[in-house]
């Protein structure tokens, strides 16, 4: 099954997740992820005729809460944890590119 997932695939996924991997790590994770995907392929090989798709293992639906306001956090509490704050806002480095 490892032929399904290439080293380049893993490098791309790592880049998307902002992970910097060494060459050794790329080899290691390519092998490990291939095994995980192989397991999914094992399931795909089963005859699942008549089995409905599962959205969630609990089998629950429509878990909702009433539209009632609950207290928010005191902003001083979390802003004090931020690396940089200006005007009660989180200050972040210059953003490259627009939001998706």
């Amino acid at each position: 099954m490892s032929s399904r997932l290439t080293r380049e695939d893993v490098a791309k996924v790592a880049a998307l997740a902002r992970l910097r991997l060494s060459d050794e790590e790329l080899d290691l994770f390519t092998e490990q992820l291939s095994k995980i995907l192989g397991h999914a392929d094992d399931m795909a090989a089963l005859d699942l005729t008549g089995v409905a798709a599962t959205a969630h293992p609990f089998g629950l639906i429509n878990i909702v809460r009433p539209d009632v306001v609950t207290p928010s956090l005191n902003r001083d509490a979390f802003l004090s944890q931020a690396p940089d704050v200006q005007d009660f806002r989180f200050a972040v480095p210059r953003i490259v590119g627009e939001a998706p």
């Binding site: 809460r65 009433p66 806002r89 989180f90 210059r94």
Partner: protein
């Protein structure tokens, strides 16, 4: 604006609307515009480890209401994580509906009779608000950005149309009609200036009958005017490139209202790979038929139906009256007009005065009671007030909340007693025998001469129609 001969625009719109709930989509933080920065934020909005989202029931009902108003079907739906790195979303993913949206396959009929299909209308959460410092205030050139998470997690419905529109004006009409529907359902306040509704436009051009051309997406248009201008600009840009033998590159573009042009934000090659996967912290949403029926039954009449109802009070509506009725329904004044007519106001006058004078003074509408409105219209209809006088009285009632009869009296708009007018006309006829002779011979223009004389003598207090009636009675 239209394209050169032989070209056709193809437009599809994605409209994001914030829902008017009390709380956010997945937590109990308040959903209110304009609060102090980061004052409506909790561990869920901040994406802190261990925090869990719980779906807001009212957001689901408003989403279904939108769906039903757009003739969609409601189906079992799921939530996905849309993964990306950007500081407006501290979880590093946005929870959205992906392959199974709550609403799909609907349509919206526009006032001109055209129909736009609705592919889907799904639930998702809004992102935080970034302010870019330094440079021009836009992202490029900014030194740093400040982030306020009050908006992070505010419920949105994204309404995706088919590529069915063929002009920027039609796209604008669609956006305006959709806005009216969102306000009618109670889902949105429709305040574009506060970002309650935002538009993304997919624009391409083609030779009529040809397959769809390569499209560009213009992001984050926040007014109907920008929407229309941006689409016209973008379509003309495509035609210019294609007629020059060039090719359109599929990309996302930004509209500058100041420059009146679009520019590249990112190309397709740079497009993010969002790695959608099912949100494991949320279960399937599958509203029962009973729940759906309850929401559907509570839907108030939509703007199209309300326009039709209002038009029934005039027997053969003119095109100006049709336009006026559109304005009245947009301003939520249709009930007011219907009530006025039920109390004896003239329908045509009620429509005209409401779509002009009242529309102009809409901000102080509280000053105008239904009784005052009906009284003013009755004074006008009976000829006690001329049209100009009635407009002046209405404007003053709107401004000050006074009584129309008292205002008319204070301004000297006294009714000219009919015997006074009769005496006046008699003396004018005697004083101008040549003009009177020509009028009697059938020169209708001379009626204006006599009206002018009457107005001069009465300082404008007479009613033109009453003067003509008086003249004709003596002919």
């Amino acid at each position: 604006m239209s394209l050169p001969d032989g070209w056709e625009m193809v437009i599809g719109l994605e409209v994001h609307t914030e829902l008017q709930t009390k709380t956010k989509l997945f937590c109990g933080c308040a959903n209110a515009f304009g609060a102090d920065a980061n004052s409506q934020v909790c561990p869920v909005c901040l994406g802190l480890p261990g925090s869990l989202p719980v779906l807001n029931e009212q957001a689901v009902e408003l989403a279904m209401a939108i769906g039903f108003a757009l003739h969609c079907s409601v189906a079992p739906s799921t939530f996905h994580r849309k993964n990306y790195f950007y500081p407006d979303m501290p979880k590093d993913y946005q929870i959205s509906q992906y392959d199974l949206p709550i609403n799909s396959n609907g349509y919206l009929d526009l006032p001109d009779g055209s129909r736009v299909t609705i592919e889907r209308a799904h639930l998702e959460e809004d992102t935080g608000k970034s302010t870019h410092l330094g440079g021009s205030g836009r992202i490029h050139g900014a030194d740093r950005s400040l982030v306020d998470y009050n908006r992070s997690g505010v419920p949105l419905v994204e309404i995706v149309s088919g590529p069915d529109m063929r002009s920027a004006a039609q796209a604008r009409a669609y956006a305006a009609e959709l806005r009216g529907i969102l306000i009618a359902t109670g889902a949105s306040d429709g305040r574009l200036e506060e970002g309650s509704m935002r538009f993304d436009a997919n624009v391409s051009v083609r030779r009529p009958g040809a397959p769809l051309g390569t499209r560009c997406e213009i992001k984050n248009l926040n007014s109907l005017r920008s929407l229309q201008r941006a689409i016209d600009y973008e379509a003309a840009r495509h035609v210019a490139i294609l007629e020059d033998g060039g090719k359109i590159r599929q990309e996302t573009r930004h509209w500058s209202e100041d420059l009146g042009e679009t520019s590249t934000m990112r190309t397709k090659e740079e497009a993010d790979d969002y790695r959608y996967f099912l949100e494991p912290d949320l279960v399937e949403l599958s509203p029962s038929i009973e729940w759906q029926d309850r929401v559907r039954a509570a839907l108030p009449p939509m703007p199209a139906e309300r326009r039709a109802t209002l038009l029934t009070i005039v027997s053969e509506p003119t095109s100006a009256q049709r336009d006026a009725v559109g304005v009245i329904v947009d301003l939520q004044l249709d009930r007011f007009v219907l009530d006025a007519v039920a109390q004896g106001a003239d329908a045509a006058l009620a429509i005209a005065r409401t779509s002009n004078e009242i529309a102009a003074g809409i901000d102080s509408l509280a000053n105008l009671s239904l009784d005052s409105f009906v009284t003013t219209l009755q004074l006008e209809a009976s000829g006690s007030l001329s049209a100009t006088q009635a407009k002046t009285v209405l404007a003053e009632v709107l401004a000050t909340g006074g009584d129309p009869v008292a205002i008319a009296a204070a301004r000297g708009f006294e009714q000219l007693a009919s015997d006074t007018l009769s005496d006046l006309v008699a003396s004018l006829v005697e004083a101008h025998p040549d003009e009177w002779h020509r009028f009697r011979e059938g020169d209708e223009k001379l009626a204006q001469f006599f009206i002018g004389q009457v107005m001069k003598a009465t300082k404008g207090q007479a009613n033109g129609k009453a003067v003509i009636a008086e003249l004709n009675a003596r002919r």
